[in-house]
């Protein structure tokens, strides 16, 4: 930073024209920034405002609702049962995320630190799962869960999502970076393997845990494909928020205020979590992407 400033001032003394082009460049950057910011914010703002409009008002291209009404919100929450969909989504996202943190942590730790015969082979199997796309396992998984009577309730969905290879891999990579001194100290204290994992290693891996917690919660919350396949055929009491929103939009395609209110509900929890934990989101994405 300081070297840049120094070199810039040195330059200025040699090249007097530079400041003007620098000003021009900055104006250009801020203009571009403003344009792009509008492109990114306007749709969301418009969505929120539309959710407070009446149905006839929703086809007017006016920004502000006239009159303001919370009718759409009340309707979808109770009449269209978004209350239930919301609860279902929260339940699935919390259970799947907790299972992933625990099992990816446990497996990741074993693959990073414990030595046992066949470890490398089993790890290849973990990586191999990344090769199997959803559209290929869709049919067999559906057939299996149907045969086991795990369709019609949440257990099948939870079972197939207990842990992902991506999360396990991410945890393993993080455990590999923690110095071994901590475990050796624990071992000298006579702590067993599980206690060492639970009391020492898991807390040390907090940054990695935060990243997979947030990304997994977001992934399950937004998941549309598997809920559609496992719950989409049955009654609506198992619907997640994404399924409920899709159904609302298919059935009542002109109830724009209601549909927009539903969209806000489908996005809002992730927005709130993002606002609080954005640094974990960003570091998680970049590091998992670079390593993966």
């Amino acid at each position: 930073m300081t070297t840049q400033v120094a070199s810039a001032s040195v330059e200025q003394s040699f090249v007097p024209r530079r400041p003007r082009s620098e000003v021009f460049r900055r104006v250009l950057v801020y203009l571009a920034l403003a344009g792009v910011a509008i492109l990114f914010f306007a749709p969301f703002i418009y969505t929120i405002l539309t959710s407070f409009k009446t149905i006839p008002d929703s086809v007017n291209v006016t920004l502000m609702p006239h009159p303001w009404t919370t009718e759409a919100w009340k309707q979808i929450w109770t009449n269209y049962d978004f209350k239930t969909f919301f609860k279902n989504s929260i339940f699935l996202a919390v259970v799947v995320t907790l299972a992933n943190v625990f099992l990816a942590g446990l497996g990741g730790y074993a693959f990073a630190r414990l030595r046992f015969p066949g470890r490398e082979l089993l790890f290849l199997l973990v990586l191999g799962t990344l090769m199997v796309p959803d559209q290929l396992r869709l049919i067999p998984v559906f057939v299996m869960l149907t045969n086991w009577h795990l369709i019609g309730n949440f257990s099948g969905y939870i079972l197939i999502n207990l842990v992902t290879a991506t999360n396990l891999f991410f945890m393993r990579q993080y455990f590999l970076t923690i110095p071994k001194d901590f475990e050796e100290a624990a071992k000298l204290d006579g702590a067993g393997y599980f206690k060492t994992f639970w009391r020492i290693m898991l807390p040390l891996a907090l940054p990695a845990i935060s990243a997979i917690t947030i990304l997994q919660f977001q992934g399950t919350w937004n998941d549309f494909f598997w809920p559609l396949i496992l719950f989409g055929q049955g009654s609506t009491h198992l619907y997640t928020i994404q399924l409920g929103l899709a159904e609302l939009q298919f059935t009542y395609s002109t109830l724009w205020p209601q549909i927009m209110a539903g969209s806000v509900i489908a996005i809002l929890p992730i927005l709130l979590i993002f606002l609080v934990f954005q640094r974990y989101f960003i570091s998680g994405v970049v590091s998992s992407g670079v390593k993966g």
């Binding site: 070297t3 840049q4 070199s7 330059e11 460049r25 900055r26 801020y30 792009v36 910011a37 492109l39 990114f40 418009y46 969505t47 099992l103 446990l106 497996g107 730790y109 074993a110 046992f116 089993l122 199997l125 973990v126 191999g128 799962t129 199997v132 796309p133 959803d134 559209q135 290929l136 396992r137 049919i139 067999p140 559906f142 057939v143 299996m144 045969n147 207990l162 842990v163 396990l168 393997y193 937004n222 559609l228 989409g232 055929q233 928020i241 994404q242 929103l245 939009q249 724009w256 549909i259 927009m260 539903g262 969209s263 489908a266 996005i267 927005l271 993002f274 960003i282 992407g289 670079v290």
Partner: protein, 303 residues
């Protein structure tokens, strides 16, 4: 002295072995559940899918042996051909568009601007928001009498017109995913050492020229990384196509993607055998593309 060490050695060897066994047992215990999940719901289904693809298989289960007929049906189905054409067009449009948009965002953010963390977050957020909600919002904004049309004075429902639907989805997804691409480019941009630019500044090279002659080539690893990751991702398009067409892949099959085709064969026609065969065929296509991509990209990166 010698007898003393031997006396210690014997119990120690024993405990080393016991410790090894203990470590092995705990190792297996720790990985047991994850391995069970991966084996049961990933590896086994892979084989099971191939098995199902050789049977006439309905909602109630296996009916009769089908030989290669499911594969024959898929490979000669004009709808499957349309699905492949759609996804090819979509991918060829969305990947360069996303990269260009993502790189532009990264360059804006990387220019020393005020409120950089805020804008970075704002541009990244659409990548995280629910695809169903984003598509639903887009349907509203781009509907026949939506905001977009009223501004440009048209009445084309962009997402539900056969000739525009897949391009509209490409535009939408370029917009949503550009934030993630931006993060990768930002990381790459920040890894470029400052002295490279200082040399250019001394030579009084223009910003435009500096970008094309220095920055863009130095970003090569990032270009390839993004190309590989998002290229494969694009081939799996499903949610957006499903939402804009009410799950039907229309109008006139314009939004039928291979994954949507598989879904419809299974859950609308209840032809699980054909759906499985389509899944296998599409897996082979993606696998072949990945191999070709790795070979060419690998060679280019080495050069």
């Amino acid at each position: 002295m010698a007898t003393a060490t031997e006396a210690i050695k014997i119990p120690r060897r024993d405990s080393v072995l016991a410790a090894r066994l203990r470590e092995t047992a705990w190792g297996y215990a720790f990985v047991a559940l994850p391995i069970a999940v991966f084996g049961l719901f990933f590896i086994y289904p892979f084989i099971y899918a191939i098995y199902i693809s050789f049977f006439h298989w309905g909602i109630l289960g296996k009916q009769s042996s089908a030989g290669w007929s499911n594969y024959h049906t898929v490979l000669h189905d004009p709808v499957f051909h349309t699905a492949l054409k759609n996804i090819a067009e979509y991918t060829l449009a969305v990947v360069p568009l996303t990269m260009a948009l993502g790189l532009s965002l990264a360059l804006i953010i990387n220019a020393k601007i005020r409120g950089r963390p805020f804008f970075r977050s704002a541009f990244y957020f659409p990548s995280l928001a629910s695809s169903v909600a984003i598509t639903t919002i887009a349907l509203y904004l781009f509907s026949a009498n939506g905001v977009f049309n009223q501004i440009i004075g048209s009445n084309t429902p962009w997402f539900t017109t056969a000739s525009t639907a897949i391009w509209a989805i490409a535009g939408l997804n370029a917009w949503t995913t550009s934030g993630t691409v931006m993060l990768f480019y930002l990381a790459a941009l920040q890894a470029i050492p400052d002295d490279v630019y200082e040399a250019a500044a001394v030579d009084n090279t223009s910003t435009w020229r500096t970008f094309w002659k220095i920055t863009f080539p130095l970003l090569r690893p990032a270009h390839f990384f993004v190309l590989v990751i998002f290229g494969v991702g694009a081939l799996k398009l499903f949610d957006q196509a499903f939402i804009v067409s009410g799950g039907a892949g229309g109008p006139n099959y314009a939004t039928t993607t291979p994954v949507l085709y598989i879904y419809r064969e299974a859950f609308h026609s209840f032809e699980f055998g054909i759906a499985a065969a389509a899944g296998v065929v599409y897996f082979i296509i993606i696998f072949a593309l990945t191999v070709v991509q790795r070979l060419t990209v690998g060679r280019q990166q080495a050069a």
